[in-house]
């Protein structure tokens, strides 16, 4: 079995993002970038399945500018066998990403495609479901547990009401939740070894896909700021404030 894992380079989850003064976007210069957190879970799960003997190969793919390769290198350092970087500059929407991934799936013929359930930059939560639609594959989104069976997967999904378990045929798309596993760290020797693993580069334009955005970003602004609050000195004061000032209890 072969598993393809899609990873995205985003602003690190610990960074307090800043809006550009001219309203055209977010400040990214000199900002720490890393792999989208649930994509780390996706890689970890694929590597674990390989280690269990149920998969032979894990391929990591990323789409974006040159620096996006860092995320593939990181995936290679924690156990992926091969990397693919599809180069494209500028904003690329989930619909175009899923069309590119469809081409990669046709070429690589994986049995499973894993990715994070959502990217923490645009918060779209679309790509996995879109890819599943384009391939006419089943989708298991928000996965917190994956069990690989002979010809199917049993996946536990985190939904608003609690948990849901479904069985999907293989091939299948799985989008991973943060509680699926605990991603490992890359050791220094493995980071060095990863540099020798194959990393294929493809230009998005050679795939014949129109990546032009369909959504115009008119402006990006800071959300309204909350008014500064106060510190109360004890519980009694807190309850009085809630009762008589805020009038919420």
């Amino acid at each position: 079995m072969k598993i393809l894992v899609a990873v995205k380079r985003v602003i690190d989850y610990n960074v307090q993002v800043r809006v550009k003064e001219d309203g055209t976007g977010i400040v990214t210069d000199n900002v720490k970038m890393s792999t989208n957190p649930p994509d780390d879970n996706a890689i970890e799960e694929a590597v674990k399945i390989k280690e269990s003997g149920k998969a032979k190969e894990v391929v990591a793919v990323t789409i974006g500018e040159d620096k996006a390769q860092e995320t593939v290198r990181k995936a290679l350092a924690v156990g992926a066998d091969k990397g693919i970087h599809v180069k494209v500059d500028g904003i690329i929407e989930p619909l175009a990403v899923s069309k590119i991934l469809q081409k990669i799936v046709e070429k690589e013929k994986p049995d499973l495609v894993f990715m994070g359930k959502q990217a923490i930059d645009d918060d779209c939560n679309q790509t996995g479901q879109m890819l599943a639609a384009l391939l006419n594959w089943p989708q298991a989104t928000f996965a917190s547990k994956i069990e690989v069976k002979d010809k199917s997967l049993e996946v536990t999904r985190e939904v608003d009401e609690g948990l849901e378990t479904i069985e999907t045929n293989i091939p299948s798309i799985v989008t991973c939740d943060l509680r699926l596993n605990e991603p490992r760290y890359a050791s220094l020797p493995n980071i060095m070894k990863a540099k020798k693993k194959p990393l294929e580069q493809i230009n998005a334009s050679d795939l014949g896909i129109d990546t032009k955005p369909r959504i115009e970003q008119i402006k990006v602004e800071e959300p309204p700021k909350r008014k500064a609050g106060i510190k109360v000195s004890n519980v009694e004061e807190l309850v009085q404030k809630l009762k008589n000032e805020a009038k919420v209890i």
Binding site: L163, I166, I218, I230
Partner: protein, 317 residues
């Protein structure tokens, strides 16, 4: 131009957020039709037909829709989508799971999680965990949109008499099989719509300690929330998680206990009307969004809070 809204329900009742989505959808266009796909869901169809904002209800009923699998829902939505300029759904796990599958087959770039309708093609949506708001304009002919329900008021539920039409089921998919659903039943208000929410974080120290939270939730008729750290640690189940990838809540009163206030948590609660933070670390980021901050050990503060609440003659429910 007409809008088609996909109703979320459990075959017996409408999910409350469908009503918020109806409000948003009718701001896009008054000619709002609702598509109810399910199994033996006549009661849902009837109650939606009584929502005054709804002009028509389309009912697709078959056992293949009993468990809301997107592989089965998608062809049914697409088949009924021809005459509509917009297809909309609320942005909870149901809509997040379903809508992109529809959008991709319609070759539409979906606009996710809108918090404001500016015009029929322009919307406001949060990005980066709500640390920025983007105004976006969709250029697709047919638009697929998901709505953040807590940003819109629920629609009135009585007085309407929308026409009900039945539509044929679509082809069945055998790609996925539903196995089970583990719902946590509770008599408490639902987290997403509760007037008061009290949440615990890693500082609670154990699942057992959440009983301190439960006692206050009982008193205030509040829903119980949690930070991701508390869910990861196994103190409480995932359906309680508030945050960027959990639930977004906008109660009148949000009480954060033992929660440091990572930006991912703030994303799920910082639009609340009044925020209270109880934390022993005076530098915790949660205090920067709190209207009332109490720097205290929660194991002392929570019993005291219960005691003070018990002293009150009346408490709003």
């Amino acid at each position: 131009m007409s809008v088609l809204l996909i109703a979320e329900h459990n075959n017996k009742e409408i999910k409350p957020f469908t009503l918020n989505a109806i409000t948003a959808a009718s701001q896009i266009d008054q000619d709002l039709h609702v598509l109810v796909i399910g199994h033996s869901c006549e009661l849902v169809v009837k109650s939606i037909s009584e929502v005054p904002n709804v002009k028509k209800v389309i009912h697709v009923d078959d056992e293949i829709y009993e468990n809301f699998l997107p592989e089965n829902f998608t062809p049914a939505v697409i088949k009924n989508s021809k005459n509509y300029s917009h297809i909309v759904c609320s942005a909870n796990t149901f809509g997040k799971n379903l809508m992109p599958r529809i959008a991709a087959l319609l070759d539409t770039s979906q606009v996710s999680d809108i918090i404001k309708v500016i015009s029929a093609d322009t919307f406001l949506r949060p990005i980066y965990a709500g640390n920025a708001f983007a105004t976006v304009k969709s250029t697709d002919v047919k638009k697929c949109i998901t709505i953040r329900p807590t940003s819109f008021d629920p629609a009135t539920t009585t007085g309407g008499t929308a026409e009900i039409v039945k539509a044929e089921k679509s082809e069945v998919s055998n790609l996925t099989k539903f196995i089970k659903r583990e719902e946590v039943k509770s008599d408490r208000p639902e987290l997403g719509t509760a007037r008061v929410v009290i949440s615990g974080g890693r500082g609670m120290g154990s699942g057992d300690n959440f009983k301190l939270i439960t006692a206050i939730a009982d008193k205030l008729n509040a829903a119980i929330g949690a930070s991701r750290a508390a869910v990861d640690a196994g103190y409480i189940t995932n359906d309680h998680q508030v945050g960027q990838t959990g639930k977004v809540v906008v109660p009148d009163l949000y009480i954060a206990v033992g929660i440091s206030g990572a930006i991912q948590h703030l994303a799920g609660m910082k639009e609340s009307k009044i925020i209270v933070a109880i934390n022993k670390d005076g530098e915790a980021p949660i205090f920067s969004v709190a209207d009332y901050g109490l720097e205290a050990d929660l194991f002392e503060a929570l019993p005291q809070l219960l005691e003070e609440l018990n002293k009150l003659n009346t408490i709003q429910k």
